[in-house]
Symmetry: C2
Subunit: 126 residues, 2 copies
């Protein structure tokens, strides 16, 4: 029976989240912002990135703005008007941030995998 003592806990798992935050505990960047920035890099458009991430443009714009406001510098170089209506590109700082974050996330994923294995070994032995 699911959850009962003695089964192998196949129905539970360890989950985690990481954020870059200000010392004032305000979230600068998490998975949402990261995904957005990555898709901006791919598509050259905040709107397209928002669509890809299945969030409203309003929300996506707000996430980027908050992040930039907290950091004090631009992550995205945004242009409006013109034939295509506008476009968005990552600034060098934006590029730096997502590559560092990606590396961070990969590293933590490994850690979590290792710890998860250990955790469930321990639990299942008991």
């Amino acid at each position: 029976m699911a959850g009962s003592r003695g089964d192998k806990y196949y129905d539970v798992f360890l989950d985690y989240r990481v954020w870059l935050k200000t010392v004032n505990n305000e979230g600068i960047m998490g998975e949402g912002c990261f995904g957005l920035l990555k898709d901006i890099k791919l598509s050259g458009s905040l709107k397209q990135a928002a669509d890809k991430q299945e969030m409203s443009y309003r929300k996506a714009w707000g996430i980027v703005r908050k992040s930039e406001d907290l950091l004090g510098f631009k992550l995205v170089d945004k242009q409006r008007g013109g034939k295509d209506g506008g476009h968005s590109y990552l600034t060098p700082e934006g590029e730096d941030l997502i590559s560092a974050y990606e590396e961070l996330r990969d590293d933590i994923t490994q850690s979590i995998k290792r710890v998860t294995k250990k955790f469930f070994n321990k639990i299942n032995k008991q």
Copy 2:
């Protein structure tokens, strides 16, 4: 200036959270529940544990109940009535869970520290 390019990012840091969850993505245990269980172990009382964690008894009780409901077994052996009004002790399963979780958390803390160092080295070099 805080946040501006070129400073050492002293004003930002990496934060994280971990949870034990059901595959249905319901939280079984996080820091809140862990802290409670630990204080129940120390005090022998859900009420005292709630006070220690600075949360209402109602909330504490709900956290433990949800956790137990999802797992399908008891984490706390609760007795009511009597001279002292009642008491709560961890079940062997509860003991197992907090010791495993504690080990898990310690391990992840180490991982995060290592990754944080790497992250900020990278960021600050750029």
